[in-house]
């Protein structure tokens, strides 16, 4: 690089970055985040309480157990509502259950749900272990066990009983637990069949509270150890500035994975991100995928996909120029999704949910620019 090029690059970079107008320093949010980091590093007081409670349950004589203390208390086997573990951790009640999350009229789709929301579709896969967190400190997990196993042991301390739950006509032998996010958790399974791993590491989940609507969330996303996904479904497809584009969805080890693809003249581009699977009555995932258009570097599109409830008949997108468009609907694995794209320089400014009579169910302007947010219509 010549001295002239060197000077030119420095000048342009200073001009470019120096012109970025930063917002006021969010000092309270920073300190709050710092406390969250400290909480995790310090062993997460709430997580420690949860672990201590687990240890108390595991070590105390049966007669001395206090029902309000344990972080993990198994539900009765074959609970009619599919609950297989519940308790209190970090001051909050939690409950894990296997239930059907498909929209009414569609084939049954079993999933583990945490407190009735944030689903993790399950398949008969003994050995699969999954985890999720809703905030700093405490994680929640379950392991699918073989018929021979009567319990799982978390971190060598907490003994969690196996519960057989029948969902969608199939039995699932599962053990659920809460654990501290302060360190890597491990599960062992006594009396496991030959060939079963001696230790099952709980998939790591990391939680940092989002700072704004434009910051990707990561709460509520189940991470599985087994890939038991389904074939991708195409949510929407069309043409923007020439290239073909499509939004696809596929359930993977980390929730619903969306991908916006564009194909230009001789080049391809793709943007993907994974988000939580919603239950019919739970918060809905709103996913944003920004993408440059091949062969046209000065512009791009943002693909949006929303998992909507059965009550939603239309999803209306209002753009920054005031125009509106209705999202295309698509069913994948018994779940309803809406998708559309917004071309630069337009931005999505509002989403409105409408019922079958065209009445407004809900509306929000808290929309992501990248990644997902969850919204309860």
């Amino acid at each position: 690089m010549t001295a002239t090029e060197d000077r030119e690059l420095r000048r342009t970079l200073h001009s470019t970055l120096g012109a970025v107008p930063p917002p006021p320093v969010p000092i309270e949010a920073i300190i709050r985040r710092g406390k969250g980091i400290r909480l995790r590093r310090a062993g997460a007081a709430v997580g420690i309480l949860a672990l201590a409670a687990i240890a108390v349950v595991a070590l105390a004589p049966p007669g001395s157990r206090q029902p309000a203390v344990p972080a993990t208390a198994p539900a009765a086997p074959a609970s009619p509502d599919g609950v297989f573990a519940q308790g209190r951790a970090g001051g909050h009640a939690w409950r894990l259950a296997v239930q059907d999350i498909a929209d009414p009229g569609y084939p049954c789709q079993p999933a583990v749900v945490l407190n009735g929301t944030d689903a993790d579709p399950v398949y008969p896969a003994p050995g699969n272990i999954a985890s999720v967190a809703l905030g700093p400190g405490v994680g929640f997990g379950f392991v699918q066990l073989p018929a021979t196993a009567s319990r799982a042991v978390v971190n060598g301390q907490a003994s969690v009983p196996a519960v057989t739950v029948t969902a969608c006509g199939l039995p699932y032998r599962v053990a659920g637990f809460a654990y501290s996010l302060a360190r890597t958790a491990r599960v062992t399974v006594p009396n496991a069949p030959a060939g079963w791993p001696s230790v099952l590491p709980v998939p790591p989940v990391s939680i940092e509270p989002p700072s704004s609507a434009s910051t990707p969330e990561n709460a509520g996303l189940w991470i599985n150890s087994y890939l038991t996904g389904t074939a991708p479904g195409v949510l929407d497809a069309g043409l923007v500035f020439g290239p073909d584009w499509s939004i696809q969805i596929q359930f993977g080890t980390g929730g619903d994975c969306y991908a916006l693809s564009a194909q230009g003249s001789g080049s391809n581009a793709q943007m993907g991100y994974c988000g939580p699977v919603s239950t019919p009555d739970g918060p809905e995932t709103i996913m944003a995928l920004p993408l440059g258009i091949p062969s046209n570097h000065s512009t791009g599109v943002t693909g949006y996909a929303v998992q909507v409830s059965p009550a939603t008949s239309q999803l209306k997108a209002t753009l920054s120029n005031g125009s509106t468009e209705l999202a295309a609907f698509c069913m994948v694995d018994g779940r309803r999704y809406a998708a559309f794209v917004v071309r630069d320089p337009l931005r999505l400014s509002r989403l409105t949910w409408l019922d079958a009579r065209g009445r407004v169910i809900a509306s929000t302007t808290a929309l992501p620019r990248f990644g997902y947010v969850q919204f309860q219509p």
Partner: protein, 180 residues
């Protein structure tokens, strides 16, 4: 989604009231530079603010050490680069060249076009090469300072810089800018 945010309120401050005042002043002074540095690394204003927040939050946790460091800015830069790298790893994103960076500001059309072209070209570099370019030409750091920030040798910095500059020189995006 219900986060147990109330539990954070119960977490005692890492630093006392005086320290908190010092940290607030430190954060306010560094915030614009951190956001701009993170924007150069990511091309996304929202993500840049998020990463700058993470860097300052980590500095808050380690405030006693940061405030006594000979060069707290170097410490902060390292935290920010690490936060940026972690953020990219955790996102599990399939990111391809061509993802549109934010156009930073308004201004004369040719200037905005020049800035957009540079950001697009930067965004097409691998993260480490992008970091080397931004640290050298925006932060004006020496090879040794960049090496300390990135946790590599000065030789690696020089080779990464050389490769990055070669790619920028051949970038069709910047070429288009010259043709305008």
């Amino acid at each position: 989604m219900t986060e147990p945010r109330d539990e954070l309120a119960a977490v005692p401050d890492v630093i006392d009231a005086d320290g908190r005042e010092d940290f607030s002043a430190f954060a306010a002074a560094r915030w614009p530079g951190l956001v701009r540095l993170a924007f150069g690394l990511t091309g996304d204003r929202g993500l840049a603010e998020d990463i700058a927040q993470i860097a300052l939050a980590r500095a808050y946790v380690a405030w006693r050490r940061v405030s006594r460091a000979n060069d707290p800015d170097a410490y902060l830069r390292r935290i920010l680069i690490n936060a940026s790298n972690r953020r990219f790893r955790r996102r599990r994103v399939t990111e391809q060249p061509g993802d549109p960076p934010d156009t930073p500001v308004d201004g004369p059309a040719d200037l905005v076009g020049e800035r957009a072209a540079l950001l697009t070209a930067l965004h097409q570099l691998p993260p480490r090469q992008r970091a080397v370019i931004v640290l050298r030409y925006w932060q004006d750091l020496t090879d040794a300072q960049i090496a300390a920030t990135l946790g590599c040798s000065p030789g690696t910095v020089r080779s990464q810089l050389s490769r990055a500059l070669a790619k920028l020189r051949e970038s069709p995006v910047l070429g288009e800018g010259e043709d305008r």
